[in-house]
């Protein structure tokens, strides 16, 4: 008997070391870095955030790997983009988590795209059109006005999840909103020269950015969303650009820059790497840095000196 008990204790001992530390902070699981950064702004010390993906990963293509399952199991709030961006991995993560708090429809499940106006909603759903999202383009984080809307909703959700600290969340939200409004004023003024500038996108990932800044998308390098640019399609883009020239072509930090570089060599269209989310470039250290750096890069390439 004693031997059996010793064995059990030996087996259980490492579990104690691994156990999630029992402190009061709300455990937040953020699907993408921008929502992790926003939750950090709004929650401060009251939240304990783990971010599932990095700026160098394609958020469409993530695997429900063991570390993510463990983190989803312990989360009290899951903050994701929604609009089917995470459809290939989040549903299975939630199913395997055994965590009822974060299932869809629960207060612990927050989908940012539900709180903004979505663009590119397809009139027709057919996979012949590539990897289309029925709910509209999910890359909402490239417009700071969307961040402001999501911040309001997320602030309210944090208050709902952790009512004991509601006052503090409300205060942090008010503080963030004030700083964000100031920053948006600054960005909008800075970005004025970009209005009407013609651009090429590698993936249809920047519609919200264009909507905000008034940039004009004249071509997309992916023939269909999620389909790799082919040589023949790139040639067709090259021909089309002769008629409607573009100043620059935009690609996200996680993407291979080859198609944009090719266009840069063959059509003299500057290839511009966009951080796309927090951590995508050295300058995009937080949400403010994300837009500072995005604008700096666009202005450097898009405005004639």
């Amino acid at each position: 008997m004693t031997n059996k008990r010793t064995l059990l204790l030996m087996l259980a001992a490492p579990l104690v070391l691994l156990a999630v530390p029992a402190h009061a902070a709300v455990r937040v699981f953020a699907c993408e870095p921008e929502w992790g950064a926003l939750a950090q702004e709004l929650g401060g010390d009251l939240v304990d955030i783990s971010v599932a993906t990095s700026a160098l990963q394609d958020p469409h293509q993530i695997q429900a790997k063991p570390s993510l399952i463990a983190r989803a199991r312990n989360a009290e709030l899951v903050v994701c983009t929604g609009a089917e961006l995470e459809i290939g991995w989040l549903p299975i993560l939630l199913q395997q988590s055994g965590n009822p708090k974060v299932q869809e429809g629960q207060p612990g499940n927050f989908a940012a795209a539900n709180f903004v106006r979505k663009l590119d909603v397809p009139g027709q759903l057919d996979r012949a059109q590539g990897d289309v999202h029925a709910a509209g383009n999910p890359h909402i984080q490239t417009d700071p006005r969307n961040i402001a809307l999501v911040a309001n909703a997320l602030g309210a959700r944090l208050q709902q999840i952790d009512p004991a600290h509601a006052g503090q969340y409300a205060q942090r939200l008010a503080d963030f909103s004030q700083r964000w409004q100031q920053a948006m004023g600054r960005w909008t003024a800075q970005a004025a020269p970009l209005k009407g500038v013609a651009v090429v996108s590698q993936h249809k990932a920047f519609v919200y950015l264009y909507d905000w800044l008034g940039l004009k998308e004249v071509a997309v390098l992916e023939p269909k969303p999620g389909v790799e640019p082919s040589a023949s399609h790139l040639q067709a883009v090259l021909v089309a650009l002769k008629g409607t020239p573009a100043r620059m072509s935009l690609y996200s930090a996680y993407q291979d820059s080859k198609p944009s570089d090719w266009l840069s060599r063959n059509a003299g269209v500057a290839a511009v790497k966009i951080p796309f989310t927090v951590g995508g470039t050295d300058g995009a250290k937080d949400l403010f840095g994300l837009f500072d750096d995005t604008l700096a890069r666009l202005l450097a390439a898009g405005v004639k000196k």
Binding site: L56, Q57, N99, N152
Partner: protein, 479 residues
């Protein structure tokens, strides 16, 4: 009619707003006990939270209204307002009102449906009709070997799934076979709200033992399952029963799975007992190593009972010799998988290394040649097998894979039947090379070459050309 939503939503919202505000006040007035300062404080916090929430939603509604007004004259199809159901409010006693969908059709609650279409060309140098794995006795209907030669339809798989209610979901997968028969691959209900990391399943399902066992055929990296699975688990072990999985509340992934089942399928057989004929235990752990690597490893044990299980083999003159086994089988599986992608971005390139070791111990009695000699004596066999495979993704859409594997038939103790059944100690083995092209996430075309040495004294060179396409609901795949 698209812009019917926001108006309806606003109306519902404004109706709910005063109610939501009034309700806590009513509760306050009716409170029999005097309120202490902490009560007042927590009430105030609740009201603050509600106010902030409503302000947020008002703001977002205003924005959407403006957006909608802007969008109407321009391109009404380019933007749409998501019918945003109000999130449930913990503090509000009035149920949150959400707008009725404008197109509430009768099929709105239909389950998500997916269909896998697959076809195959098979070429072999040795006739697959006489396929066997030397030294391993299998049921006559076992799905071992490369299947039929020539062009054939592979398994078409129809899947349906949906939430049943707030506490459970249901999943069914039907397999439509090339010979026009249909089988129920999986049909189970699963809990979604047990909590504490617990998930229970009931029905027919693929057992969670090992790594490859729970994966559907269309997610395999090769056309066929490894020989060890074919010889020791009947290709893939599924059963009718119960499963309970528990995820430990740790940052390290640690999952324990327990199953009880009927035990109908090989290595078990129907025993006609009231109790369970199958029990299994699986322990898996895994994690990340830096940004680019992640892994999972596990240990599983499956135990099944068999009674009069019809087994057999083809003798040297290709005649079927039927035996019957009664007893118990225990299969232990050690599995591991290691995945690499630069910074975790598997869009263009990635590598996956995977291996499993299976060890089966059967003990009981065996009747030799049930239609002829029919001599019964004790039977004890320990047999094992392993495979190791690597799959490398390159140029985004291409993958190349190598698999090597071997079985060890051991030296079974056949008792009195030893003279008729004892083998030569031959170790079946196989080497496989695979190349596939994936035009999209939903389609795959694969070429596979294999040298199969499962039959003693014969080398079978095999070639497969396969397509696999996925239609309908976007399936999320496990690790």
């Amino acid at each position: 009619m698209r812009f019917h939503f926001p108006a309806g939503h606003n109306l519902a919202f404004f109706l709910a707003f005063p109610l939501a505000l009034a309700a806590p006040l009513g509760a306050l007035a009716a409170a029999p006990a005097p309120l202490n300062p902490t009560d007042v404080q927590s009430l105030r916090q609740e009201i603050d939270a509600m106010r902030a929430d409503y302000e947020a939603r008002l703001k977002s509604l205003e924005q959407r209204l403006i957006a909608a007004e802007r969008a109407v004259p321009a391109t009404p199809t380019a933007t749409a307002i998501a019918p945003q159901p109000a999130p449930p409010l913990a503090a509000a006693p009035v149920p949150a009102v959400s707008p009725a969908p404008a197109t509430a059709a009768a099929n709105a609650f239909n389950p998500a449906m997916s269909l896998i279409l697959s076809g195959l060309y098979t070429g072999t140098t040795v006739d697959p009709v006489n396929y066997r794995i030397t030294g391993f006795q299998l049921p006559r209907a076992a799905e071992a070997g490369p299947g039929a030669r020539g062009l054939s339809l592979a398994e078409s798989e129809l899947g349906l799934s949906a939430n049943i209610d707030p506490w459970s979901r249901g999943v069914a997968n039907f397999s439509l076979h090339a010979d026009d028969s249909v089988s129920v691959e999986e049909a189970y209900v699963q809990t979604t709200a047990l909590g504490n990391g617990l998930t229970a399943k009931a029905g027919r399902f693929l057992s969670g033992i090992g790594y490859l066992n729970a994966q559907h055929a269309h997610t395999w990296d090769f056309v066929d399952n490894p020989l060890a699975y074919q010889a020791l688990l009947g290709t893939q072990y599924r059963d009718d029963g119960l499963q309970l999985r528990w995820l430990a509340p740790t940052n390290q992934y640690l999952e324990l799975g327990l199953e009880l089942g009927r035990g109908r399928n090989f290595p078990g057989s129907d025993t006609g007992k009231n109790g369970a004929g199958m029990a299994s235990l699986a322990l898996h752990t895994g994690g990340d190593v830096g940004d680019s690597h992640n892994w999972r490893a596990g240990l599983s044990v499956l135990r099944t009972d068999a009674s009069g299980q019809e087994l057999g083999f083809l003798d040297s003159s290709n005649t079927w010799v039927g035996n019957a086994f009664t007893g118990s089988t225990q299969v232990a599986i050690l599995d591991g998988v290691w995945k690499w992608a630069p910074y975790g971005n598997a869009t263009r390139t990635s590598f996956k290394l995977q291996g499993e070791y299976l060890r089966s111990t059967r003990s009981g009695s065996l009747s030799y040649d049930t239609v002829g000699a029919n001599t019964t004596d004790a039977y004890q066999a320990t047999q094992s097998g392993w495979y190791l495979q690597g799959v490398y993704q390159f140029l985004g859409n291409w993958r190349v894979g190598v698999r090597t594997e071997q079985l060890d038939g051991g030296s079974p103790d056949y008792g009195l039947n030893a003279a008729a059944l004892a083998g030569t100690g031959f170790k079946p083995s196989k080497d496989t090379l695979m190349l596939d092209y994936n035009p999209s996430e939903f389609s795959r075309i694969r070429l596979q070459l294999a040298q199969d040495r499962a039959r003693e004294g014969q080398v079978d060179n095999q070639v497969f050309l396969q397509y696999q396409m996925s239609l309908g609901a976007h399936g999320a795949h496990g690790y």
